[in-house]
């Protein structure tokens, strides 16, 4: 049986790890200029707002799509860092990843009802993710940026498997 607080926490952890991994990926391979930060944050926010209104975004597709975009951007910046399309495609990837960051709250509110608790647990995951990213990247470097999003997404997808279908029919 899924524990919703743990699920919300894990989702917050996943969101912050992914957001910071996107950022460092672009900063290492393209530029540390403020434009990079602005593009990632703005496109993530836009994706989240759109995600709030996407009725048909399934939880597995939401997480999977984000992961697919992240690794596509990873491959892109590693192989073609200075193509004129790189930053635009990275922004698109970050925006699509952000879709689940919006849709998640509707998905879980439908199940869990307690809006204050949802934000509380998700936000705890988010700030723990900030600390974890700092420790992970300074101690492990790029292997952390490669493996952490995949591991956290894997845990989330596992959690989804445990959620009873009938309870998650939105």
């Amino acid at each position: 049986m899924i524990k919703f607080p743990a699920y919300a926490f894990l989702t917050g952890l996943y969101f912050s790890t992914l957001q910071f991994c996107y950022l460092i990926l672009l900063q290492i391979n393209i530029s540390s200029a403020y434009l990079t930060y602005m593009v990632i944050t703005a496109s993530w926010l836009t994706g989240s707002i759109i995600g709030l209104w996407l009725e048909n975004l399934d939880r597995n597709v939401g997480v999977g799509l984000g992961l697919f975009c992240y690794y596509s951007v990873y491959a892109l910046v590693a192989n073609m860092p200075f193509s004129s399309f790189t930053l635009v495609l990275a922004a698109l990837g970050s925006g699509i990843t952000g879709l689940w960051a919006g849709r998640f709250f509707i998905f879980i509110l439908h199940q869990y009802k307690q809006v204050d608790r949802i934000f509380f647990h998700e936000n705890n995951g988010f700030w723990v993710g900030i600390v974890m990213f700092f420790l992970g990247f300074t101690l492990l470097g790029r292997p952390f940026v490669f493996w952490a999003p995949m591991t956290l997404a894997g845990l989330l997808l596992l959690k989804h498997l445990w959620i009873k279908e009938k309870n998650m029919s939105i």
Binding site: S32, I49, V115, D116, F120, N124
Partner: protein, 493 residues
């Protein structure tokens, strides 16, 4: 305004306030506590913890209690920035332990962020289950749009003082008070006090900044010459009672005017004199003070600095414009050094790395093996890179040794100069150094007689314990940052 419009407008403003408060709190507290990456992460985590507390308490209290708490906290915002700065000054004056600073930071995290976390849950919770989802979509969308708008306002405040963004923040907060409570008395009271407080904001900002530097940094009779937020950091220029000027970035001393002379001599003038480079690249050096030193010896000088705020401070207080006018073989680009090197088609005979110590991830990346390999790919066959090591090179695993180890991994030859006058070492690296120890001794003899020079052949002796800094091994940022933070706030000695 009816409820259908009022609530989305309120959440939009809450989002905007949250965005600005996050920026103001993180920048100001990082500066107060000194901006190593460890501190940046700690302050950011404190801000988000404040949000968590807000979410936790959101539905715990009655509307009446919420209104009173909200008003109290909103009015406390009118004491920014002097209240927390003066409290930090008092902690420093009383020589209290670091726990007091942590308490101050967490207490202000509650003020800065908790209150904004309360609005959305309270409004969604009021609805019945059928309408709660719709409400959540509308209100959370508006909060996120507001956050983006706040983000844009923050962008407009680059290279300006707090006196630009705080009045905007107060104006937004006044609108939040009005829409949330709909009590004219409180809105008018807030606006009146904000107008009065705002009229002296510039002076308050400068004076409280000076007090922080007098009491926390022991800068006697400090005067604030400049205090702005650039896109990357807080840039402050201070002057002490003797007229000496200091440049601080996020509360960390970057340089003072006296150091600048020695730094420029060894990192820029000496290698330029010895090499007579055709093309010179200067990365960093926001003060631009090394440009006039290198220019007479080089056919072309390219400066690359990321932070326009540091350039502004440099030109205003460290390198007068007249020293730079007429330098038609010099060019300045505002860009990230990595990005510039990756995209330039030029090859350089001399690269001068005038950047801060590796105390944040971004700064540390510019001291890694990968960065030096990139620099090497843009250097001529006898090209030299000059790096300041932030301290004396010793046989250990500390910053100077780790930077030299990274250089030694990327280049065939590394020579180190240890200057007592500059209170640090400097490294020159190349695949084939175009000068030797004797040439350096002859060039620097008049400037510093006792200069200690470690020739390439002896360098490996100093690196027996040093792990090269690399993108996959930036533990130094964590270890050194933590060591400094702990020593500053929790070391009884």
């Amino acid at each position: 305004m009816n409820r259908t419009l009022r609530e989305p407008a309120l959440l939009f403003l809450v989002g905007a306030c949250l965005s600005i408060s996050q920026f103001v709190m993180i920048r100001d507290f990082v500066t107060i506590l000194y901006g190593e990456e460890v501190v940046i992460i700690l302050v950011t985590a404190a801000f988000f913890l404040g949000l968590s507390i807000g979410y936790f308490l959101a539905l715990k209290f009655s509307e009446k209690f919420f209104e009173t708490a909200f008003l109290t906290i909103a009015f406390l915002h009118l004491t920014f920035p002097f209240s927390y700065r003066l409290l930090a000054v008092e902690i420093a004056r009383a020589d209290l332990s670091g726990y007091w600073y942590m308490t101050l930071m967490f207490a202000y995290a509650l003020i800065f962020s908790s209150i904004f976390a309360v609005f959305l849950p309270r409004r969604v919770h009021r609805e019945n289950p059928d309408t709660a989802l719709k409400k959540m979509k509308v209100l959370y969308s508006m909060e996120l749009v507001g956050f983006a708008a706040g983000f844009a306002i923050v962008g407009l405040s680059w290279n300006k003082g707090l006196d630009f963004i705080i009045p905007i923040y107060w104006a937004l907060l006044a609108m939040v008070i009005h829409l949330a409570l709909q009590k004219k008395f409180w809105t008018v009271s807030f606006v009146l006090i904000a107008v009065i407080a705002g009229s002296s904001l510039t002076d308050v900002d400068r004076r409280t900044t000076a007090l922080i530097y007098e009491n926390k940094h022991s800068l006697e009779n400090a005067t604030t010459l400049m205090s702005i937020n650039s896109a990357y950091q807080k840039v402050e220029v201070m002057e002490d009672g003797d007229g000496e000027r200091y440049l601080y970035l996020d509360g960390l001393l970057n340089l003072n005017a006296s150091d600048l002379k020695d730094l420029n001599y060894y990192i820029a003038e000496t290698p330029a004199r010895l090499i007579k480079p055709d093309k010179t690249l200067i990365i960093g050096n926001g003060t631009l003070s090394s440009v006039p030193k290198v220019y007479p010896h080089s056919n072309f000088v390219q400066s690359v600095e990321l932070d326009a705020g540091v350039l502004l401070a440099g030109q205003k207080f460290f390198t007068p414009m007249e020293e730079l006018t007429g330098l038609d073989r010099w060019n300045l680009i505002v860009d990230d050094g990595k990005h510039f090197l990756k995209t330039t088609q030029d090859k350089f005979d001399l690269i001068i790395m005038d950047i801060p110590s590796p105390l944040t991830i971004q700064e540390a990346i510019l001291h890694t093996v990968e960065f030096y390999q990139l620099a090497r790919s843009k250097m001529s066959a006898q090209g030299v890179i000059a790096v300041q090591l932030s301290g004396p090179l010793q046989t250990n695993n500390r910053t100077p040794a780790r930077v030299v180890a990274a250089l030694a991994k990327a280049f065939k030859e590394v020579m180190v100069l240890d200057s007592e006058k500059a209170d640090r070492s400097f490294a020159y690296a190349s695949d084939h150094l175009p000068f030797d120890k004797l040439a350096i001794q002859q060039t620097t003899r008049d400037y510093e007689e006792e200069l200690f020079i470690i020739p390439p052949i002896d360098i490996s002796f100093y690196l027996s314990e040093a792990v090269p800094l690399a993108v996959d091994n930036l533990d130094l940022v964590l270890r050194r940052g933590w060591e400094r933070f702990r020593g500053r706030y929790f070391d009884d000695d």
